[in-house]
Structures are given as C-alpha cells and as structure tokens.
Symmetry: C2
Subunit: 331 residues, 2 copies
C-alpha cells in the first residue's frame, strides 16, 4: 500500500448538501518523522455538526477549509510509530478526518481498549455522541426519578443514549422520531416508554397523549416545530438541553412560536457543545464504557462501506435516513 | 369615613384590556376582629403581570377571580389594629389590591421605615420590581465588569434598576426603550451607556452600533422582535434572564426567529418570577434600600390620581405610555 484516499471539501453548499461539495482524492502515503505516527482508519464517524462546518457562516467553530481533508472523528490502528506513547497495533480514537490514512503527532489522540467494547463504539455511545448525551442529561436536565423526559431524534446516536440513561434514572422517557420503524426500535429495543412519530402528522396531540403529566426535561436535537410541540407541554421549572438544531442546518427559517413558555413555565434552556466541557469526559466515558461493556446501554449503527460512500451517507444523515449511529467503514 | 371604593374585575379581556373590564364599587368599611388590622392604602402599584392574571388561561398563577378586588401591591398606613405586630400609624407594604381600604390578618404584610426611603419606593425600586431586577441580574445574568448588558423596557420600573445595578458592576449597559424621550432619560438621568429607540425603525442596526463587542447578558421584558434583535448580537456563553413577554400579553403570536442562537452561542436562557425566590429577598431589599437611601439608585414614577384613574393608567402601562414606575395615589 503506497497510496490512500481522502475526501476534501470542494465547495460550500448553498442550501442542501450535494455530493459534488466533496471531492475524492488519491494521495501518496507520507513518511513519518520523529514524534509522529501513521494511522490506518477503520471507521469514520458522520455527525450533524459537520454541516455547520461546511458553511462559511460565523458559528462556534472555524469553518472547514476548502480543499482540505473533511473534519471527522475516527477510530483506527497504528501502522507505524515514531511516537513514544503509541505502538504499532494500538487502536486509537481521534479526529483524523475523512481519510483512510493519516499522520498524527499524537495531539487529541487516545489509545482505547477493545477487549469489551467494539472499536466503533468509541465513535458513538462511548465517544462524542455518548458524552453529548451524558453531559446534557446530567449537567443540564438533571431529571429525578418519576419525571418525564422528552428526547428528539430519539433513535440517533445521541438521542438513544439520552433516553437509556434517563430510563436508568427511573424517568418516564418519551422519544420523538421520524417513522414507525424508528419509533418501534426506540420503544422495543431501547426501552423508552413511548415514542411519537412526527411524520404521522399529529405531533401535538400524540405528544400530549404520551406525556399525560407534562414534560420536566427536554433534550433538543431538532429545533423549530418539534421543539415548539415539546415547549407547549413543559411543566414549571423544566430544563432544556439544546444540543442540535437540525431543522435549520440548510439555512431554513426555524421560528419558535412557543418561546413564551420559557417565561410562563420558568424554564432553564441551555445550549452546549460537549467538546467545551473537557473536565467531564473522564467520568462520563468511564460510566458509558461500563454500561456498554455490561450490555446495559444498547446502540445501533448504520455502516456505509468504503470512503467513497461517505458523501451520500452524510447527505442521508442530514435527511434522517440513517438509523442509529452513522459510520463509514474504511478498512 | 364609613365607606371606601374598590375596583373589581368585571369581565376578562378578549384581546386588549378595556376600561369596562373593571368596575368601581363603593363598600362599607368593615369592623375588624381580633388578629386583624385595617389599612388605608396610600399607593397602588400597577404592573404588567396583572394582565396575565386577568385571563383565564393557564399561567404560573391562579387567574384573578371575577367580581373580586383586583390583585395589586400596595403601601398604606394602619388605621386600626387588633393585631399584636402592627400599631396604628405604621406604614405597611402588602398586596391588598385595587382598594382604598382593606382588612388584613397580617399575612404577607410587612412594616417599613420611611425615614430615608419614600413609601412609594417600596412598590418600586425597593419592592417587587427592584427585587425582580436584582434577582435577574445577580442570579441569572451575573455579568462581569466590562461585559455588555442589554435591558429591554429600559425606562420601566424593573429595567431602570437592572441597568443601574449593572453600571455599578462596571458593565457597558445598553437599554432598549420606546421613544426619544425615554431613551434620553435612560442615558442622561440613569447613566446607561446607550439606549436604542425601537420605535425609530432601525432596531437591528441601532442595536449593533450600540453593542460593538456583542452582548454578554440580556434582561428581557418584551419578547418577540425585540428579543430576536438582542439574540442575534449575543456572544458565546451569554446569559438571558426572561422576566416579561409584554409583546404577547394580548395573545398576539410572538414568534422568535433567532432561537437557534441559543445553540450556536451556547446561551443559558432562564425564565423566572421573583416571588418564587423568597430566600433572596432579605439580602436584595437591604442592598436596594441602601442604594435608594444614599441616592445611588434613581427611579422615576408616573402617578395617577385617585382609584378611579387606575384602569386607564393600567391600559396606558400595557401600551408603554407610562414613564417609570406606574403608581396610583389613593390618599
């Protein structure tokens, strides 16, 4: 193997992401120098936040540069090492991007144990999505046993963990997801108490029926009309963790009609990005790892095959076509 | 004096409050029994929250009952007492309603000292409006010196205190108010750094010019388009105290177009009602009282004369016609 493939951002989307916003390139595998290591990526993680980075708009992170490797979380195996902390054969998790092979100086790279936890889970339930769920639930929503928790995008990599953690705390957990199949999975496989299919066309009434005692805490991944429906059901002193706003990722207006409930129900609404909370990661990852290793935290993966399939898989993710954590298998 | 006048809620408003939603009645002054006292009210406080109570809608408080004395904060003097804690001549603050005379059993009534603080201030800067400002600023916004704070309804009883307290903390303080006269007062008399006149028609551009370093904390009294303009200027980790939503008090839709900034700027947005935070009142009132008594906290009053003028004064308050704390002088 002397060459590898990578995907760069070729152009910025004007509205919906198109396949030609990306470009597949073949590159020569570089030689590494002292302090570096060479990683062969096994899995690439696809996540909604990447849509934000593709735009040049002001956001919480610098935009993805054009003609550079697309940003992305990865898990892979060390092929060569001139770095004292990493050895050939180590499994490493990092943010090496949409590429089969990458050189790293070890920054933001960590070695993981795959004895009891599959490598891919470090990109999902025991990685950034799992930590996002853990932080929002524990540090913002802080639900008590018996309270009602609502989670949008409930079958996704983040939402599925939020709901299962809330069930372990003794909450009534209601998901919101798109389609009967995802809702069935959320209830039957993940153990949520109920799931509302927003595509069925009766969101308000169905959510009211599923939350007879109102809503004490919301984990919001979508924004717009779905958030509005949940806001209208909040109880006094409800807490809302705002984690995603998928409804507006293509620049669509996403007006909120029910924001006044923030006042009338004295809600606390907090937006967050878990990468800004590094002090919580050791505790959170330890808890999530134990739950996955002991089978108490389930997850589902949609795995696209080969780097070239990443753009279509990513476009599908933004449209809700994935089912569970979206990965791309690279080797 | 054997009779007194009171105002009851005659009917609920269907949209804007009308004068005939109220009814003036003449009543006989009752005899008091053991444990009671009789108060002659000097001032009645008019506050936006009363609009919410006039509706039968679900809200944080029970609706005002029809044909009963309208709810309202009062300061008055004890005329007769068979209560061990109150003596004739004491000045007392309470919630005795839109009435010249009231019987009380002492519940929620407190004796105040008018040596250095005028009686009417106990309904404003050293009362519920002042505490609302104090709590929102200190417990939710918690601004640091040098940060930019924005306050809507800046010339009002609450907003004027928020801004002055923030100036004492070394913040850059920008008000939003309706009309050039109110804006001039906010800057020249209260010492805000700038004030944006939302009626001038350039809210977004004018607010941007007044907040060149963005906004770190918002005290929101209005909601809707005014809140939207401030949200668009927030900095990362901004804090928002949501205290009022005047824009929607008559049931108008008040969509928020910029709610997505809660996520992109990782804001904390909290609605609150200061009466639910009794543990903070002793400290807050002590600080506010000292600031008023020493002339460091200024306030302005609009005083309507006589109980019969209360309905029109209240309607004016909801339309922003008042200038500073709206009171009705009763005796």
């Amino acid at each position: 193997m002397t060459t590898y493939q990578r995907i760069v951002l070729a152009s910025r989307p004007t509205a919906e992401v198109q396949a030609d916003n990306f470009r597949l390139e073949t590159k020569d595998i570089p030689a590494i120098t002292d302090g570096q290591l060479l990683v062969r990526n096994q899995y690439l993680s696809l996540d909604p936040y990447m849509r934000g980075r593709m735009s040049a708009n002001k956001s919480y992170a610098a935009p993805q540069a054009l003609d550079e490797t697309m940003i992305g979380g990865t898990v892979g195996v060390v092929l060569e090492s001139k770095h004292p902390k990493f050895a050939v054969g180590d499994t490493v998790v990092g943010t090496l991007g949409w590429t089969e092979v990458a050189v790293s100086d070890g920054t933001m790279l960590r070695k993981v144990d795959t004895t009891h936890i599959p490598a891919s889970a470090y990109l999902g339930a025991v990685g950034m999505p799992g930590m996002t769920a853990w932080y929002g639930l524990n540090q913002i929503m802080a639900p008590k046993a018996g309270e009602t928790v609502v989670v949008s995008a409930a079958s996704g990599a983040v939402g599925s963990v939020v709901g299962q953690l809330a069930k372990l705390k003794g909450c009534r957990v209601v998901g919101i997801a798109g389609g009967a199949e995802k809702c069935r999975y959320v209830v039957e496989e993940l153990g949520f108490d109920a799931c509302v299919d927003y595509k069925a066309g009766n969101l308000e009434a169905d959510l009211a029926a599923a939350t007879p005692e109102g809503i004490d805490a919301i984990f919001e991944n979508v924004g717009g009309a779905i958030f509005d429906a949940a806001l209208a059901r909040t109880n006094a002193f409800g807490r809302v963790a705002v984690c995603g706003w998928i409804a507006g990722y293509n620049g669509e207006p996403t007006p909120l009609d029910n924001a006044r409930f923030i006042l009338t129900n004295r809600l606390t609404v907090r937006g967050f990005i878990v990468s800004e909370q590094p002090e919580f990661w050791p505790q959170g990852l330890a808890e999530l790892g134990t739950l996955v290793a002991t089978g108490k935290l389930k997850f589902r993966e949609s795995v696209a095959d080969g780097l070239a399939s990443a753009p279509e898989a990513f476009i599908g993710l933004l449209k809700g076509r994935n089912f569970g954590k979206q990965l791309v298998k690279l080797s």
